[in-house]
Structure formats: structure tokens, C-alpha cells
């Protein structure tokens, strides 16, 4: 029956066209969204992959002042602060907060225009004891500082 049934073929053909059209319609929006929020970096699951997605392992810089607690009693609320010393590291345009042992290490990105101080304060979840990284991007180069935070109570539902 299948080969002789014009309706079946037409329907299949119609579906194929429909799916293709849907895919095409969805495409520009996806590209647009990806250009804004660094989705692929947010989706990485290991520190190595996160650095790779950013464009390589950043070089250590003492121009980044990264404040985190040495011991966090509650991993669900760990205060972090990134400050930049502009005399050491000028033209910083992006700051990243990365938590090594989290399911997705990248926690937050802060983009600042030239008139905004490269400074960010927030609170993040830290799943377990491990390193936290502050990464700064200046003129396309990546710099970082790492700090260990010990967690006595996990940040993910524990």
C-alpha cells in the first residue's frame, strides 16, 4: 500500500518541508542568543573545558583582587568579590567567576564598558571544597587568580 498511496507520500513530504522551515526559523534567534550569553561556556562541565571554551588557560595575574571566604559554612551562599588593580591590569572588559567543582564551573560573567569599574560582588553556590577562580579579560587576553574555599555544607541541595 505504501508505495501506491500518494497521500502518504505527500504527508511525509509536507512534514519534511515543515520541519526544515521550523529549523530555519529557529536558527537566527539561536545565533542571536548565543552571541549575547556565552551559552557554550556555561554548559561546560569541567574546569579544563571551561578554560578551553574561554580561549585557553588564563595567565596568573596579581592585578586581580579576589575575595572569598577560606571556609564557607554554607556552600549555598558563598560571597565573592572581584576587584581589579588598573595599574597592573588596565582595560578589563569582562570578569568571570568560576567554581571548579560545580557541575557547570562557570557561575557568572560581568561585562563592563570602559566607564564602569571592573568590579563585581555576588554570592555563589559551591558544591564542595575546591578552587574558585576569578578570570579577567583585557584586550582579548585572559588573566586569573585562584583561591581555595573549604565547604562544610554543600551548595546543591545537601
Amino acid at each position: 500500500m505504501g508505495n501506491l498511496d500518494p497521500l502518504g507520500l505527500t504527508r511525509r513530504g509536507f512534514m519534511r518541508v515543515g520541519v526544515t522551515l521550523l529549523a530555519v526559523a529557529a536558527l537566527p534567534q539561536k545565533i542571536w542568543a548565543a552571541a549575547l550569553r556565552p551559552e557554550t561556556v556555561f554548559q561546560t562541565t569541567t574546569l579544563e573545558a571551561t578554560f578551553e571554551a574561554l580561549g585557553g588557560v588564563p595567565q596568573v595575574s596579581d592585578g586581580i583582587i579576589f575575595s572569598t571566604p577560606d571556609i564557607a559554612e554554607n556552600g549555598a551562599v558563598v560571597p565573592v568579590r572581584i576587584e581589579i588593580d588598573p595599574s597592573v591590569l588596565p582595560d578589563v572588559s569582562k570578569l568571570y567567576v568560576i567554581v571548579e567543582k560545580n557541575p557547570n564551573p562557570l557561575a557568572a560573567v560581568f561585562q563592563v564598558p570602559p566607564n564602569t569599574q571592573p568590579y563585581a560582588e555576588t554570592r555563589v553556590k559551591v558544591a564542595q571544597t575546591g578552587n574558585l577562580y576569578a578570570v579577567a579579560e583585557a584586550n582579548g587576553e585572559l588573566y586569573m587568580v585562584q583561591r581555595e574555599t573549604k565547604v562544610t555544607l554543600g551548595g546543591c541541595g545537601g
Binding site: L36, R37, P38, F42, A76, V77, V78, P79, R81, V99, N102, P103, N104, L106, A107, A108, V109, F110, Q111, V112, P113, N115, T116, Q117, Y119, A120, E121, T122, R123, V124, K125, G155, C156, G157
Partner: protein, 103 residues
């Protein structure tokens, strides 16, 4: 969606300090409720700080930012009485904002 936000903008030596506390559960999507069903992810993805309608900070967040997120940023060029606004949008398309004047 509760969009109440506590926000403060204060003039310091040569910059304006903005502090905002948003109300949001920031669910990672990895937690389970008591019956073992997964709690769907619900977190703020996008945060903007605006000074007189110009974006002074554009932040992108993941689910690892704590519940009821705190944001502290500093920008230059603010004057007393200027409007500072914080606007967020989450992965479900909900949004919220808070507004204050610099003091």
C-alpha cells in the same frame, strides 16, 4: 513572579556603588523534591544595570548564583538624583526590575 528588589545606589569618592538584592529561587534543575521528582531549573540568566538608561554593567549568570541573588557593582559618572535601574530575566522568560536614585 515576585519581582520585588532591594536596590541602593550611593555616591562614593569617584564612583557610584550599586547594591541590589533580587528575589529569585535560582533553582539549578538538579535538586529533587520530597517525592523524588526533579525541580525544574529556574534561574536568572541575564542582569543589566542601567544608569539613566545606559547599560553600565551587563551580567550573565548561571544556576550557580545563590538564591535571592546579591549584586554589587561600581560605575563612574553618576550624580546625585540620577536614576539607577537593575533589570533581570530568567530562563523561563520571567523578568523583574528595581529602580532607585543615587544618593
Amino acid at each position: 513572579m515576585a519581582s520585588r528588589m532591594r536596590i541602593r545606589a550611593q555616591l562614593k569618592e569617584d564612583y557610584c556603588e550599586v547594591k541590589a538584592l533580587m528575589r529569585h529561587p535560582m533553582e539549578t534543575g538538579m535538586r529533587k523534591d520530597q517525592s523524588g521528582a526533579a525541580i525544574p531549573a529556574n534561574f536568572i540568566e541575564d542582569v543589566q544595570v542601567l544608569h539613566n538608561d545606559a547599560v553600565v554593567v551587563q551580567a550573565y549568570w548561571g544556576a550557580a548564583v545563590s538564591a535571592n541573588p546579591f549584586l554589587g557593582v561600581r560605575f563612574k559618572g553618576g550624580a546625585q538624583g540620577d536614576v539607577v535601574k537593575v533589570v533581570w530575566r530568567d530562563n523561563r522568560g520571567d523578568s523583574g526590575s528595581g529602580e532607585t536614585t543615587i544618593r
